[in-house]
Symmetry: C2
């Protein structure tokens, strides 16, 4: 029924749709196949297991995230750059939200994906460290008030980044994608506020309004 070369892509697309809608655990290989009007054995021919599909989708996400980070756009000011890139990042992540929602479940039975995920986390931490170092140099962020203060802050924002989607699933089932991203990107940005210098705070208020 698929008949062309992008069978694999179509499978990934449909799987992503179903995973996001019903939760990873509630979607079987057979269901994905049925929804695509193909036999389940045909699907298995392309992807041996559901975990292989999850891994492939995680790769897709990774590629998009890398593409986003490589397009090194420079913004006039720190807060604006942070705000824009946060939103863009959140949007990409939201499209693959099942990965975050069912993260524990998925990683538990997919060691390869877990390794990849932890690797990405390290890169993310380094990225934040860079951003912060530069912002402190530019006097947008204040200096640390106790040793490693910003390392703890990075841990906090990483936890936020990992879990805002889960939170939205519980508390804001009624909102649209745009509303959710606006809401949580806003909340994320506001985590930075108390660390801003006075001039940084001025810029902050200009963006918010």
């Amino acid at each position: 029924m698929l008949k062309n070369k992008n069978s694999k892509e179509k499978i990934l697309q449909k799987a992503l749709e179903l995973f996001n809608a019903k939760g990873f655990a509630n979607v079987s290989i057979r269901l994905i196949a049925t929804e695509l009007n193909i036999s389940h054995s045909n699907l298995i021919y392309h992807y041996k297991t559901k975990n292989d599909i999850a891994t492939a989708l995680h790769n897709e996400l990774l590629q998009k995230a890398i593409a986003l980070n490589t397009q090194a756009v420079t913004y006039s000011d720190f807060m604006e750059g942070l705000f824009v890139s946060t939103k863009q990042g959140f949007e990409i992540l939201y499209d693959y939200r099942f990965l975050m929602i069912d993260l524990n479940f998925i990683l538990k039975e997919n060691q390869a994906l877990k390794t990849a995920f932890l690797e990405v986390e390290k890169v993310r931490a380094k990225m934040y460290q860079n951003v912060i170092t530069i912002a402190v140099e530019n006097k947008d962020l204040r200096k640390e008030l106790y040793p490693n203060e910003y390392d703890f802050f990075i841990d906090q924002i990483k936890i936020f980044s990992d879990s805002w989607i889960v939170s939205s699933q519980i508390y804001h089932t009624d909102l649209t994608k745009k509303e959710i991203i606006d809401l949580y990107a806003d909340l994320f940005i506001k985590m930075w506020f108390p660390y801003l210098t006075d001039s940084g705070k001025e810029k902050f208020f200009r963006i918010i309004s």
Copy 2:
């Protein structure tokens, strides 16, 4: 094999143990029964479904949390009180960690529990609002620098409270319960630091050391 009146308690205890260890989705009624050396039909006699067990365990957690909050101990200073009660709360929650780890999965098919959960969240938000209001009055926390700043902060710490356990499952599988709680209670407390007044910060440093 159980033969006494606390069959229900024993079931809850074993179920909790298995849910925490293997994840809610990976534990069947039959497995719990097998581990207890009883027949699965016997278990079903006590709890019709796995969701009933989850609901009962959530009730247990709730009772313990209420008991903790009712023991209105007053601490000499704000930060110390926050720190102690955070740790106590985290400990209780950790014992029932499957509820947080598999929250989405569980709430998806258990509307009653979802309602209860959302109700608890409201209470929690009010509790934090109280704590903050008093701390601002006592000049431990600074005043808001923009409208509703502390409401956003409450949203942030609620997200943290809901997800630190999940985070620990991914990033710190090797740590003990005590280590995990120390780590995340510390991180939680440090979220408050930037909002402290100068005198509040002094108290903070005294506790940390």
